[in-house]
């Protein structure tokens, strides 16, 4: 179980304080699939990065299975079973797909069969990719799918995916949602997925709408989706005012 208690994150931008997250508290039970959704710049990614240790909160506490991990490094959290799939994964000159999967698995003798298993789950063929470098020769979608495969290879108990659908084609996306469904069905990991995709939102046990640095709504996909649709039809308030003035 993961508990976030009164998490705040305030940045100082040229002397002006800006609150990115404001007193956020949430509990994520084991084996659940939670989707964070909400408007861009609302604080979703920051909250996820705080869990992984990529961002240090200015206030608050993070407990993993009762252990306070707030002061632990990224590495220590990774070794406790938290993993993180970046929205825009880095590329590495000279490090192959096989190398990354091997590092992720922690098994120096990771077999090709196992690599193949992880890559198939994200819609990639091991024969085509295993010995390729994770560099600029790969497309954004390919790097993204390799990123997700590293989390599968890591096999951690708590997985965070930041917009896994971004840059991925429709066919691979369908394969990817099957993978998330399978992990969820077998309760082999707790998952937080940051997503705007209805298909992924509909997989969630609980959907949390993060906006303006707070948790705005929580509920099931059936409860939350209509609210999201309602909010997105409002359009631009400035434009609406201008349009009204010209009438």
């Amino acid at each position: 179980m993961l508990e976030l208690k009164h998490i705040s994150y305030v940045v100082n931008d040229a002397g002006v304080e800006q609150t990115i997250l404001n007193d956020v508290s949430v509990t994520i039970p084991d084996g659940k699939l939670i989707v964070f959704t909400g408007p861009n710049g609302g604080g979703k990614t920051t909250l996820a990065k705080i869990i992984m240790g990529l961002v240090t909160p200015t206030q608050g506490q993070i407990l993993l299975n009762g252990q306070d991990v707030t002061a632990l490094s990224i590495t220590e959290r990774a070794r406790l079973g938290i993993s993180y799939g970046f929205q825009q994964p880095p590329r590495f000159k000279g490090i192959t797909v096989r190398d990354l999967l091997t590092i992720a698995s922690g098994d120096d003798k990771l077999t090709k069969d196992k690599c193949c298993h992880y890559l198939t789950q994200v819609g990639l063929c091991a024969n085509d990719y295993l010995d390729r470098e994770v560099d600029v020769s790969l497309s954004g979608g390919e790097v993204k799918r390799i990123e997700i495969a590293t989390l599968l290879a890591r096999g951690s108990a708590f997985m965070i995916f930041d917009e896994p659908e971004a840059g991925i084609d429709l066919w691979s996306f369908a394969r990817l949602t099957e993978t998330f469904e399978s992990i969820h069905r077998t309760h082999s990991a707790t998952m937080i997925i940051i997503s705007h995709q209805e298909r992924i939102i509909s997989l969630a046990d609980e959907v949390i709408v993060v906006g303006g640095g707070v948790l705005q709504y929580r509920g099931t996909a059936d409860e939350i989706l209509p609210k999201i649709m309602q909010d997105t039809t409002h359009g631009c308030p400035v434009l609406t005012r201008k349009e009204a003035a010209t009438l």
Binding site: M52, I74, T75, A78, R79, F92, G94, I103, R154
Partner: protein, 307 residues
């Protein structure tokens, strides 16, 4: 006599363990420790009074290897060696050179070497050159290798130079002249640290029609070390040349990269790319999320980069 220290050096610079199969010449502190010719590869001392050997590879020699490593175990020592390679036509051979210095003294140990290759028509040569230095003394290890290659019609050379740590000062010069349809690929890997200095000048002259030249240079400069690269490609006919220099800079190191391309023909297609930068923060973070410490992540990134 080859002792355990020499044996370890030979393994590092030429992957030599035990007695290798193929032609062989081991030079130690200016003397010849071992020499072995084969039916197709003849190694002889030079006859012009200069230090070094002549290596003659007969026409049609395929799948054979030739090892010519150099070991220096003395301090206050300098040598200038000339090795000439005459590779016949239609050959396909591996040549492994390299120099290892074990300097336990307080004076300089220095190896200057000039390797000149004449590669015959349609021959393919893979040439590996590793440089390595060690020793617990305060003396400096210096290596200044020069490699000059003449590729005849349809000939190719894949040249791999590696220098990872241990060499305090190096000034290397590589020149390859490509004839018609000839192809040169140079892969350079370099890591300097402490106050080391490395300068690498390269010149690929694409003289023949449909000749190709490619330089892939990757380097890491740590601490207060300095590196200077000057790769030059000259296209004199219909040809293709590509220079790619990537460097990772760390600590208070300094790197200068000055690639140059010169086209003397409208049919010459030449490209150069050079990049210098520190290890990207997101690369370190990614590997930390996979359970590596920051130091382990850094090592892994450098290992991959220089692989």
């Amino acid at each position: 006599m080859i002792n355990e220290v020499d044996q370890a050096l030979l393994e590092k610079i030429a992957d030599l363990v035990g007695k290798p199969v193929g032609a062989l010449n081991i030079r130690k502190d200016g003397g010849c420790e071992a020499r072995q010719s084969t039916e197709h590869i003849k190694i002889d001392a030079r006859t012009d009074g200069k230090e070094g050997i002549d290596i003659r590879i007969l026409d049609g020699t395929k799948g054979e290897k030739c090892f010519i490593p150099v070991v220096i175990s003395k301090s206050d020592y300098a040598e200038m060696v000339y090795n000439d390679f005459y590779v016949g036509e239609n050959c396909d051979v591996d040549i492994v050179a390299g120099c290892g210095i074990h300097n336990s003294g307080c004076d300089e140990a220095r190896h200057d070497g000039v390797h000149t290759f004449h590669v015959g028509k349609n021959s393919h040569v893979r040439y590996a050159e590793k440089h390595y230095g060690e020793g617990d003394g305060t003396g400096t290890n210096v290596m200044n290798p020069q490699t000059v290659v003449y590729l005849d019609e349809g000939a190719t050379i894949q040249m791999e130079t590696v220098q990872i740590r241990g060499i305090d000062s190096t000034k290397r010069f590589t020149k390859i002249v490509c004839g018609k349809g000839a192809e040169a690929l140079i892969t350079e890997r370099l890591l300097t640290h402490g106050t080391q200095l490395a300068e690498s000048d390269m010149e690929i002259i694409l003289d023949g029609e449909d000749s190709k030249g490619r330089v892939i240079s990757r380097s890491v400069a740590q601490d207060e070390s300095r590196q200077v690269f000057r790769p030059i490609v000259v296209g004199n006919d219909k040809c293709f040349g590509h220079v790619q220099c990537d460097s990772i800079i760390m600590g208070s190191a300094k790197i200068e990269s000055v690639p140059a391309i010169t086209a003397n023909s409208t049919e010459a297609q030449l490209i150069h790319e050079a990049a210098i930068g520190k290890i990207a923060g997101d690369q370190l973070l990614k590997l930390q999320t996979l359970g590596l410490t920051e130091e382990e992540a850094e090592d892994r990134i450098l290992k991959g980069f220089l692989a």
